[in-house]
Symmetry: C2
DNA sequence: CTGAAAGCGCTTACAG
DNA sequence: CTGAAAGCGCTTACAG
């Protein structure tokens, strides 16, 4: 019975092998695999055991060909932080290998780049798009996608498109929580370094900072707030002017890790110890946060999980649409976490013990 | 003729549509797509035009199902730099979406982790493995894979397994070239920060530095060499002791970017300007190099290309093996590039103009 | 140089 | 609750 060996040398276990092993039809095995309900419990169990015993694993190609469910998903990105991107990719890949969808990655530089990439996606027959920041916040991109009739999901968006799915954290709440933590440590003069002005989540983080200060009975002061642009250099510069004030802040909250790292460098250059002389905290928990020294206390976004969930939601959306049912966009909010590392301590003390 | 609409709502262009459009058989179209030679030039051209006109793009699932060529490729990694990983992933993804192979990503922590992951790969029916550093340098992992009979490729290996494929740069030559560049700038007292002692490429880079010095008639001095461990902190510490010497080096060559970034921070803390007082250069061109300020002059490895090529080679290897032909492992060497940024200049001058 | 037939491993749509 | 048939879009292995 050299059935499997006809074309190929190997001996892959197929759904037929499992079926024969149990004494049922391939159809029943298929049902078990896909978790359909109308299978007798006893049958299901026997099939499951056979699957285990034969070490069967479904052929994704066959499955997606047969079910016509082979979604081509594009991930388009433009100029994100590399470490952000890598976490995102990890999550996406994890999910895509499970879902058996085909992934296409495209980078688009500049505003014209986006149009070109969108054209390309169309001709590639893409079924859906994953959008990381800053694209996920672009109303222009959202509009274009909508006009193309292409489903999409925004990952880590601060301004989710109302008619598209999204996964994000609550930037306001996260900045609020981090500021509260700083206050709980005993800090009263807390500086803030804003991100790029055209980014909405930068604004949300700033507002979270203000709100926490206010709630604690502290007065937010403009002179304790510096303008950054999410870059190391901008964090360096902003921190420098903040730290050279007569009444130096005892803590600095930079609204991303690159700026926080720049702020640490600036403090060092001024002869200040971190965290002994000044506590410096970041936001995002990118690899930068744990690369520099001292390692940065920061707010962690579970990027990888968010990306994985985002892709899953997108796939469901595509399936729903295909079946002709109406689709109600889902906006998921994931939990953030405050990660304490060596760059923070009570004012005037050293956290590294 | 509602053929395509039978099961699905859409109207995907298939090989049959193209065939009908041209007036040939699907087989001929298939041949054109796969670049087979036995097709008349005229026919080929007409088919190519139809493909263009109909905007046809082959269905990967069908293709890999029919050709039995659907390879499951695993990428296993352990503790690499995130920015390295993201470049690698980009390259791998680019290639895998073109080749239509299924990608599985597994992280393995620690030496036991590797064994577990390998077990998992086996039960998953993986056809080949991509190995980034430091796994790509592990003789243990190579041996285990060999015993499992699983083809693999090492990406950015300094010590390629003789019987497995690999893609790398010439670390010795790259370090040699960077050191020569420093000498050409006018530096004579050039310090070096070594990487982790158990890493072979760290050693190669050190040897390249020594060789360039020697070739230029300079005497390599042990006291100009510091021991690092590839981390920011270790670069910081090593640079500190190097820069506090009486005869301070005018340039520091750190054998990766994280250490170079740490060295810059250390210089700043000592009140030294980079590059005016000391030139500091790195190696790898990870995102760290362009995140910090001043941005780092460094050696670029084309990670993404290397990964993409590596996967391609692996796929070829699998195909060759399947056809029963003998496989001769290929070791590809890619070109590196010296990237000049703001952290280097002639001694005593400022490069940022 | 070109094509008709059979098959890849799975699922959909029907029957029972 | 279970199964026989047909088909997903492509390629392999033969013929001519």
């Amino acid at each position: 019975m050299a059935r499997k060996v006809s074309r190929r040398g190997g001996n892959i276990v197929t759904i037929h092998d499992v079926a024969r092993h149990v004494g049922v039809s391939p159809m029943t095995v298929s049902r078990v695999i896909n978790g359909e309900k109308n299978v007798r419990e006893e049958t299901r169990k026997k099939v499951a055991e056979a699957i285990e015993a034969l070490n069967y694993s479904p052929n994704m190609a066959a499955r997606s060909l047969a079910s016509q469910d082979s979604s081509r998903i594009a991930l388009i990105y433009s100029n994100p932080s590399m470490s952000f991107l890598s976490e995102l990719l990890l999550g996406i890949l994890h999910q895509s290998s499970q879902s058996g969808c085909q992934l296409i990655i495209e980078s688009c530089e500049g505003p014209e780049g986006v149009a070109d990439v969108l054209d390309k996606l169309k001709s590639l027959g893409v079924d859906g798009v994953v959008l990381p920041p800053p694209l996920s916040d672009s109303t222009r991109v959202a509009k274009a996608l909508r006009e193309m009739g292409l489903p999409f999901v925004g990952v880590a968006t601060s301004r989710p498109s109302p008619d598209a799915a999204s996964v994000s954290i609550d930037d306001f709440k996260a900045a609020f929580a981090m500021t509260q933590r700083l206050i709980a440590l005993g800090h009263r003069r807390i500086g803030f370094i804003k991100g790029h002005p055209n980014s909405y989540y930068s604004q949300l983080r700033h507002e979270g900072y203000i709100a926490a200060l206010t709630k604690a009975g502290l007065t937010p002061e403009d002179k304790l707030v510096g303008q950054g642009y999410f870059t190391y250099r901008s964090g360096f510069d902003a921190a420098e002017s903040l730290l050279m004030r007569d009444e130096r802040p005892t803590a600095l909250f930079a609204s991303n890790d690159d700026m926080a790292a720049g702020a640490v460098a600036s403090a060092h250059r001024l002869g200040l110890d971190v965290p002994k002389d000044v506590t410096i905290v970041g936001f995002d928990d990118t690899s930068m946060a744990s690369s520099v020294w001292p390692e940065l206390t920061t707010v962690r976004q579970p990027i990888s999980d968010m990306a994985s969930l985002g892709l899953k939601m997108l796939l469901e959306q595509i399936r729903t649409r295909r079946s002709g049912q109406p689709y109600a966009p889902v906006h998921e909010i994931r939990d953030f976490a405050i990660i304490e590392r060596q760059s923070s301590s009570p004012p005037g003390e050293d956290a590294t013990d």
